[in-house]
């Protein structure tokens, strides 16, 4: 198994508080991993350490064997490590078409061009239309994002990540804020992600986790306490204690 992405012995503390303690994991092509954990487990800190928005006290982040620990966030994106946001971050006055066009141009290193338009670039337009079609956004291609429904903004967030052709995709709660009746839209979109893409999803919605993930990693108090199959996670006593206890209770109560 060749790792496209790996984290080695990552540690981070704020003052005396250890938020990430010795976290190691590796991902292979095509992985579908869910990272779960109770609030305050250090999931967000972990994402920020990986994307370069925080510097770890020690440990390394590797992409395809290359140490990217010293890369700034933008270089990490260019190396193929792309994230989505828990709360959508989109350009409210721009259309989905413009979002995807800009992402493709950026990926190709042409976003600094001072003349022309992506609309006059046939291969950009073709790719843009394919991506929007895959995510069922074609009908909204020319509507300003501020005017489209939140569920569809969520899809665009995924589309935008795909347009950057990542090797590793970090999805930070892709269904957050989407009404439960609409999570199937997100699920369908996630099912369409390219097969060779390694995906790490942070998610609270356990139904989504169990349907999406082939592997579940549980983070609690800054440590990985479980790393294994979704079937095994509910059996694990430590996980039950740290996290799933509340979920099991909640679902049995419901």
């Amino acid at each position: 198994m060749s790792a496209v992405f790996a984290v080695e012995r990552l540690k981070k503390s704020f003052g005396g508080l250890e938020v990430t303690r010795d976290v190691s994991l590796s991902m292979a092509k095509g992985d579908r991993i869910a990272l779960i954990g109770p609030n305050g487990a250090g999931k967000t800190t972990f994402v920020n350490l990986v994307t370069g928005h925080l510097q770890p006290n020690s440990g390394r982040v590797l992409m395809g064997g290359e140490d990217i620990s010293r890369f700034n966030p933008m270089r990490r994106v260019r190396a193929g490590l792309v994230r989505s946001f828990q709360v959508t971050r989109l350009f409210s006055e721009m259309t989905p078409e413009e979002h995807i066009g800009l992402a493709i141009l950026q990926r190709e290193g042409r976003s600094g061009r001072m003349a022309g338009s992506f609309r006059a670039m046939p291969q950009v337009m073709r790719e843009m239309r394919n991506i929007l079609e895959t995510l069922n956004l074609s009908a909204l291609a020319t509507v300003p994002v501020g005017e489209i429904a939140y569920g569809q903004q969520r899809l665009l967030e995924i589309a935008l990540a795909l347009a950057l052709r990542p090797k590793v995709l970090l999805l930070d709660e892709p269904a957050a804020g989407v009404p439960h009746s609409d999570t199937f839209l997100i699920e369908n979109a996630l099912a369409q992600l390219p097969d060779d893409l390694a995906v790490l999803m942070i998610e609270h919605d356990m139904d989504l986790v169990f349907r999406f993930a082939k592997r579940v990693i549980v983070l609690a108090a800054g440590e990985i306490i479980f790393d294994g199959s979704p079937q095994a996670v509910t059996e694990d006593p430590r996980v039950r204690e740290a996290y799933l206890g509340s979920y099991v209770h909640a679902s049995s109560a419901a």
Binding site: V77, V82, F85, S92, M94, L102, A103, S111, G112
Partner: protein, 333 residues
């Protein structure tokens, strides 16, 4: 609407912006000709309006398109004006196009310097840094009186005829024509720029810089690039002012000039080149007419106008007009 419908619409949408730009150029030229015949005695004022328009367009690039808050943008305009003036007076470069080119370069350099300083801050800190920048530029020009003439201003700028043919006359006809040509050229180039991938990137930066960096693009590098371009535009405006008035005063590098440019931009509507035009014309014409009628209270009236616009037309005069006309066409058949 199904996907094939949208595909069919694309060529039309691709063609439309160019047509709109041509209409824009036609409107500028028509307004210029109308101005020439309607106000033959006010050509100097009209030329000054053009120079300030270039400053406001330049400010629009960083504020309207990129979302940078600045009250120091006249530094770029003044740098262009002084560079063109000093080139003529001290170094004997009196060919007008060369003076404009020197102004553009000086403006770009000033844009780079002030951009590097201003972009270190965000929000309020950014605004304060921009105020510091304009005061430093002002003071530097004041102290370097050997070259700039200090508080007396830099006089004795005598530009050659344009292309050796059109002499700068007493009525300011040549200066006006020269200004219009520069304005149209800059307008066309800026239309291409704001529509380009880079223009789109900058609009993205204004709406969400975090997203832009999550796409792998450098926010800082893009903003500095835009500041340099903006500096060149403001520098051309400054140089035009130096060529047409044949003097450069410290007021071109003043906080007041910066603040007024921002007011004009907000008045017309930030984030649109047309908004910059409208705001400059309305503000300066208002100033001209109202200050003649009531020299003591004209600023009060301008203030009232501004409050009215900000409260009732927050997108500015042009932005609001566009919204209204869209609403009318949508509700129509």
């Amino acid at each position: 609407m199904s996907a094939p419908d949208i595909a069919a619409l694309q060529p039309i949408q691709a063609a439309r912006p160019w047509q709109r730009d041509l209409i824009g150029v036609a409107v500028i030229l028509a307004a210029a000709i109308a101005g020439y015949f309607l106000f033959p005695d006010n050509l100097a004022l009209l030329t000054r309006i053009i120079a300030i328009m270039l400053l406001v367009l330049s400010l629009d690039l960083v504020t309207g398109y990129c979302g940078v808050a600045t009250l120091g943008h006249a530094a770029l305009f003044g740098a262009g004006a002084y560079a063109a003036g000093i080139a003529a007076v001290t170094f004997g470069i009196t060919e007008p196009l060369s003076m404009v080119a020197i102004g553009a370069i000086a403006g770009a350099v000033a844009g780079l310097v002030s951009g590097v300083v201003i972009l270190r801050g965000h929000g309020l800190a950014q605004l304060v840094l921009s105020i510091a920048v304009i005061h430093l530029f002002h003071e530097a020009a004041n102290k370097a009186s050997t070259y700039t003439g200090g508080s007396d201003g830099l006089s004795g700028i005598a530009p050659d005829p344009v292309f050796g043919l059109f002499e700068f006359d007493l009525w300011g006809r040549t200066a006006y024509g020269f200004g219009i040509v520069l304005l149209v050229l800059v307008f066309v180039l800026l239309r291409i720029l704001v529509r380009s991938p880079f223009g789109m990137l900058c609009r993205g930066i204004r709406q969400d810089p975090v997203r832009i960096s999550a796409m792998g693009a450098s926010v800082k590098a893009s903003l500095i690039k835009m500041y340099v371009i903006s500096g060149a535009v403001a520098g051309i405006g400054g140089a035009l002012n130096a060529v047409s008035t044949q003097v450069v005063g410290l007021d071109s590098l003043s906080f007041t000039n910066s603040a007024e440019a921002l007011v004009m931009l907000v008045l017309g509507g930030a984030g649109s080149l047309y908004g910059a035009f409208v705001g400059t014309i309305v503000f300066m014409w208002f100033e001209h007419v109202v200050s003649a009628a009531n020299p003591f209270h004209w600023l009060t009236i301008v203030g009232a106008l501004l409050i009215a616009v900000v409260l009732f037309a927050p997108k500015g005069l042009y932005g609001t007009a566009v919204t209204l006309s869209q609403r009318l066409t949508r509700s129509g058949p």
